[in-house]
Symmetry: C2
């Protein structure tokens, strides 16, 4: 059978390094993480948050015309530090050029990196189980208030991958005319049953951990085992079969032959546990529930009324956010009379390819911004 991934597996040698290297390089001039209180919020669910704080970071400067602002929206496990997790795309001289644009990164509502979420305090104790399930629309409403605070009258670009793409899309229909361009990469109109299934399996891993305690766990004793397993489930979906094979194959973990034990026999096993366990040091289990729910709820009906132009990028080996989902978005944008392009990029590494440059993604964005 034809297997394009296998045929192109050589491409991975060059990209392997990129994908598996920590991206916390020297950042350009930045505001550092700041916070601002943006008032109370009535969520789509009807729940009311009496006070919402947004954590954000900016790079570059707003120009005199105030038309060079860019909002970078993060994916599930990201934060406001865009010139970090996305520094191949955002930074000085990068395609989202902080020498040219005033770039804003924010942590989403419901997150755990400074913006109001389940670990935030209400009445002197963490929200925990009291934190409501929010939507991508709620996240974007909070980001809109941040733009007011920053004196940004409109966005030259809203962009993001995966969950970040959903936010950028939501911006364009919720605040028509505010966003000139939307770039959504490895994203979709609405999660399929399979995407919901992956998220739900992670949620069940958390909620079935007795340490979850209905959501009301002490922050220093969260359900780390369940959260770690949830992260492993996520990681399974972020890479392609070819990427897993290239990186790990059937290599054993620090041994010459099988030990016939419950310990890690294969390198890929050690990698997954490492990723899972590391995640619990920087992420909150309730936040994981809230954010995965938000993206499962997300369902863009149409781009009717949108005044944005769109770029959709996707990756042929991304089986969890497959290319046909970006093609669907492109079709919807065209149907709504919007300028739109879809660039399907033939690379072997899977969903996480959206983090990379030099695979055709940069070129597509550069052309889009030059229009």
């Amino acid at each position: 059978m034809a297997d394009p991934d296998q045929a192109r597996v050589g491409q991975l040698s060059e990209l392997d390094q990129a994908l598996f290297t920590d991206n916390d390089r020297q950042a350009p001039v930045t505001s550092g993480r700041q916070t601002v209180e943006v008032g109370s919020l009535t969520c789509e669910s009807g729940a009311v948050l009496p006070s919402v704080t947004v954590a954000y970071e900016t790079w570059g400067a707003l120009n005199a015309a105030r038309d060079n602002a860019v909002l970078v929206c993060h994916a599930l496990s990201g934060d406001s530090h865009a010139v970090g997790w996305w520094d191949r795309i955002v930074g000085p001289g990068k395609v989202v050029d902080t020498d040219r644009y005033f770039v804003v990164g924010t942590n989403v509502l419901g997150g755990c990196q400074g913006t109001t979420g389940p670990t935030s305090l209400l009445d002197d104790r963490p929200y925990a189980a009291r934190f409501p399930f929010v939507t991508v629309g709620d996240m974007v409403e909070v980001q809109r208030r941040l733009m007011s605070h920053l004196g940004v009258p409109g966005l030259a670009l809203a962009c993001g991958g995966s969950m970040g793409g959903m936010q950028a899309l939501e911006w364009s229909v919720r605040f028509p005319g505010f966003v000139k361009r939307v770039w959504a990469t490895a994203s979709c109109r609405a999660h399929s049953a399979m995407q919901i299934g992956f998220n739900e399996t992670g949620r069940q891993a958390i909620m079935r951990d007795p340490k979850w305690r209905g959501g009301d766990y002490p922050l220093d004793d969260q359900p780390v085992q369940g959260l770690s397993v949830a992260r492993m489930v996520g990681h399974l979906s972020y890479l392609s079969e070819a990427a897993f094979d290239k990186k790990f194959g059937r290599r054993l973990q620090d041994k010459e032959s099988f030990e016939y034990s419950t310990g890690h026999e294969f390198a890929v096993e050690s990698y997954l546990s490492y990723q899972g366990d590391k995640f619990t040091g920087r992420f909150d289990a309730n936040s994981y529930l809230v954010l995965t729910r938000a993206i499962d709820y997300f369902e863009l009906a149409s781009m009717a009324g949108s005044q944005s132009s769109y770029l959709f990028t996707s990756f042929t080996s991304d089986w969890i956010y497959p290319s046909h989902q970006s093609a669907e978005l492109h079709g919807m944008a065209v149907a709504a009379g919007c300028q739109s392009r879809h660039v399907d990029i033939d690379v072997p590494m899977g969903h996480d390819a959206f983090l990379l440059d030099d695979i055709g993604q940069t070129e597509a964005v550069r052309a889009f911004l030059a229009e």
Copy 2:
């Protein structure tokens, strides 16, 4: 982007029923489940099992020439009751015809349906953590002894899907000349890193459940939450995106609108939890660890010396045991000078398609058996 699954999703209407219906129909004449003690076993790991019992079931009768025996090998969660879980393939008038063949189904070594495994007794208490990690080779060694007990001097066919296919393959190289034909469906030469990753995530879900207790849990209080999550991880891989969409889409679970709660919002969530929880009633957590390890260990080096002819079937939408793995097996068989054919079947439902008839699989097997 081209998406053949979506284009063919209509095919699922007919097959949907089959895939999601319990297959416990009226069985033909059967021996009922029997057991036989086949002696002690030194496992590939070096561990010694002082006494091994095999649970098996037979259908039909051995003919005078004793050349009509068929061994049906089960997949991860199966058992000896082949005319049950595979009754579209095995039974009176089916392609593996119990009116013609003497069909033997067995529960594998390490399983939990009658054959010696972690729930079996040693010194008056369950093996539990004392049960060794076994290999597909160990399973087949035990099956070989069962054949001696049954007076079967050779097999007309050894067959199975997924883990069952691995056993059939192992037979052909471990006991050359014993097996005339091997049919392996939705199987592989060796698990890829991604396949190991899925299994390992399930194992971690079990071992990180505090009720696992290092493997030494009471049988009436096993780590049901971890085992349930492990089963959910498995189920994610058994269906294709198109099959999940066809069966569940974004349909809500017994509600008109979102409840913004931790309960099941979407039907697919309810399905996964149901499958996970149901599984814990019939499966043992340690057995799950042992069997998933066995298939991760499995690595067929070559068919050199094999005297079998081979049929490999695969399914274009099976992303966890993708078609190229069956193509690889076919190439290996040809390289070893064996008769071989590979039939890649273009159906949309994913890995579990191997359970079905009327999709081209039956026809391929019929032709293979008629050669």
